[in-house]
């Protein structure tokens, strides 16, 4: 959580200065982008699938009240319990109380962004429960005392050497940087936790209203063990992560796997509907679904409702040139990358510098092109920037500059005079047709880039002259 306390620019600088992070980010995002492209190329009509996915998600959100009622009633009818959590505090309290009443000692967790968002582990550990993250990447992050930096690959910022050291220190692994050996070591350690855990906490990829089920998607098998071995399963779901019917998964799962990792389907998709039935040989005896609001019901009525369509695939992170350069931690919140620059200011408004996140985009649009449900991320970033201006969260110098700019662009005289001054000034600064230094704040440009001098005569002037000449020629 150290990332939250320092300013956004410092986090960015730190990320850009970190050589091994830069290498890892480049390798990981390249791989994700290539795998995704290869998987999409095989599909008959991926854009049609995207359109269907967007419609399915929008439909569920349009009737979210009804969909949640249907989902919760069906889960309760199957013997599951549903807790409506207004915020992180309510969710944490419910889960801590549950663990206490059920005399839980060890809790295994599979990856859940929602539980990261509400800092669930901190609350459980403060209540003296042993909490073990079981996704390999999350486990590594937990051993290191860090936070995830990517939705799909939480520890892409760590090298194998760093991970080897962690495993040697915490698990007594002999020195090696062999990845299969490290993986086996983690498997062995985590297997013991699964066998003795009393409670498993998972996230939810989709809640399926009419089936009364939650869907958990993964590749490792840790989520299957988390939701099968312990006697209590707690699923934490943001209220927007729903669809109406089981057949919707025929679209959503295809979009999710291909967009996230380029797989045709993820290795394991568990569709879970309440506790085990009386004659089922295994599975949890208790099933609890936490419906987490935590700001989402505000978002659905605002200008950013579309962000709730997100299926958390991470494709926009991998496609984003800014994310590729700075990685997830620089964003400071649980959700990083382009979608994080929208969700974090909305879901974690208390974080430092959070209004600056929408500035961390060149608005290139690669995120929207990659999004499996076609979320208009750049348009929303622009709206968030406008909100920040409207709320007065801008530098005075920027406000003055913009007011001046607007005046100049509306007045032909001011525009012409301003252009002349700029032309004069920049040509004075230019050497051999280029400018190597501009005064602050424009020195930010010339730090690593030259700038061209303004033209001696503008296009407007040259065009007027051309027209006069043409008229003179009698054309």
């Amino acid at each position: 959580m150290a990332t939250q306390s320092i300013a956004f620019h410092d986090r960015v600088d730190r990320a850009l200065d970190n050589r091994s992070l830069q290498t890892a980010l480049g390798r990981a995002t390249d791989r994700f982008v290539t795998n995704r492209a290869n998987a999409l190329a095989l599909v008959d009509d991926f854009d049609d699938l995207r359109a269907r996915g967007r419609a399915i998600r929008a439909s569920a959100l349009a009737q979210l009240d009804d969909v949640l009622v249907r989902l919760s009633e069906r889960i309760e009818a199957r013997g599951g319990q549903v807790f409506w959590a207004a915020d992180g505090n309510a969710a944490r309290r419910y889960i801590v109380d549950l663990a206490r009443t059920r005399a839980v000692r060890t809790i295994v967790k599979s990856k859940s962004m929602a539980s990261e968002e509400i800092h669930l582990n901190d609350a459980l550990e403060a209540a003296a429960f042993t909490v073990v993250e079981t996704d390999l990447g999350e486990y590594i992050i937990q051993l290191a005392g860090e936070t995830p930096s990517h939705i799909i690959a939480p520890c892409i910022h760590k090298t194998r050497e760093e991970i080897s050291t962690l495993f040697q220190d915490h698990l007594g692994m002999p020195a090696t940087d062999d990845i299969p050996t490290m993986t086996r070591t983690a498997r062995g350690a985590l297997r013991q936790q699964f066998l003795q855990a009393d409670m498993g906490i998972s996230g939810v990829n989709f809640g399926v209203a009419d089936a009364g089920a939650v869907v958990v998607v993964e590749n490792e098998g840790n989520a299957r063990l988390t939701t099968t071995a312990p006697r209590i399963h707690v699923a934490v779901m943001g209220i927007e992560r729903v669809c109406e019917r089981l057949e919707d998964l025929g679209v959503l799962l295809q979009l999710l796997a291909r967009s996230a990792t380029g797989q045709k389907l993820s290795v394991y998709t568990s569709i879970l509907s309440g506790p085990r039935r009386a004659d089922e040989p295994d599975g949890p005896d208790e099933f609890h679904l936490i419906l987490l609001d935590n700001g989402r019901s505000q978002i659905i009525g605002g200008d950013y409702a579309e962000a709730l369509l997100c299926i958390r695939c991470g494709a926009c992170l991998n496609a984003c040139p800014v994310y590729q350069s700075i990685g997830g931690h620089a964003y400071g919140g649980v959700y990083s990358g382009p979608i994080g620059a929208i969700l974090t200011p909305l879901l974690q408004p208390e974080l430092r510098d959070v209004h600056k996140l929408p500035q961390a985009s060149s608005l290139c649009g690669a995120c929207q092109s990659a999004c499996p449900v076609k979320i208009a991320i750049p348009d929303m970033l622009l709206r968030l920037r406008a909100d920040a201006v409207a709320a007065g969260r801008t530098d005075a110098i920027e406000r003055i500059a913009m007011a001046g700019w607007s005046q100049a662009m509306r007045s032909p005289t001011l525009y012409r005079v301003g252009g002349k001054l700029a032309s004069l000034g920049t040509r004075l600064l230019a050497r051999e047709g280029r400018i190597g230094w501009l005064p602050p704040p424009l020195d930010q440009w010339t730090h690593q880039r030259d700038f061209p001098p303004f033209a001696p005569r503008s296009f407007t002037e040259l065009w007027a002259e051309r027209q006069r000449r043409a008229a003179g020629d009698g054309r």
Partner: protein, 235 residues
């Protein structure tokens, strides 16, 4: 608790009063029905297509002419892996005659799963199952274009029998293979109408061996679930 529920639903309805029109409009912009399959259709036999796709995932497909050949294949796989203990679906659920005799013949102990509800018994039972080197299940469908094994939970169908051991063998009949996920879901719902989950708590799709690329994006198999996946298709 119902207060929290009503308050949340109230906030959602308030929000939707403003944006329901936009969302409903987006909801109508495209059909919702899943395509039966998503890759271009071609002539390959579906079982062959399944086998080809499964091998791409570093798993093993065995296409057997008949039940006897499938039995022989199963014995070979277990024998080659030196398995002594296997946990399986209950025999009636598996519906694969001869399994018990075959396992006994090659010295494999077969174990049913029956997890008791109390904490202590649960942990003890899990510990007893954990040493199993193999798990064996039937399937409810195979999806050819993604090489996906579909298994429903229910009586005699433990989830752990496709999960706990490093070696997993799924036994399927040729007529259980469908082309795509859309088809598979439609078929399951039809078969178990009106409520797929009336008598079971889980439906699981398994696509290849357990895998992770969390360390330096390097693929490693068998991180939590089975590393070696075999699918025997017969008939």
């Amino acid at each position: 608790m119902s207060d929290a529920r009503e308050a949340m639903l109230g906030r959602i309805r308030q929000g939707l009063a403003r944006n329901r029109e936009f969302l409903a409009h987006e909801a109508l912009a495209a059909p919702h029905a899943p395509p039966p399959f998503v890759h271009p259709e071609h002539d390959a036999d579906l079982a062959d297509l399944f086998a080809t796709e499964l091998r791409k995932l570093a798993a093993h497909a065995h296409l057997c002419a008949d039940h006897d050949a499938a039995r022989a294949t199963l014995r070979d796989i277990l024998g080659a892996a030196g398995v002594h203990l296997a946990l399986t679906w209950a025999l009636p659920a598996l519906a694969f005659p001869g399994l018990d005799d075959d396992l006994a013949a090659i010295g494999v102990e077969r174990r049913d799963v029956a997890i008791a509800p109390t904490a202590a018994e649960r942990a003890a039972e899990l510990r007893a199952l954990e040493p199993a080197a193999a798990c064996i299940s039937g399937v409810d469908a195979l999806i050819a274009e993604s090489a996906t094994i579909v298994v429903l939970g229910g009586a005699g169908r433990p989830r752990l029998a496709s999960l706990l051991a490093p070696l997993y063998i799924a036994i399927a009949r040729r007529d259980q293979v469908v082309r795509g996920l859309g088809q598979a879901i439609a078929q399951l719902q039809q078969r178990a109408a009106p409520d797929l989950f009336a008598e079971r708590s889980s439906l699981t799709f398994i696509t290849g061996p357990s895998r992770t690329a969390d360390i330096e994006m390097t693929l490693a198999l068998g991180v939590h679930g089975p590393r070696d996946v075999h699918v025997i298709i017969y008939g």
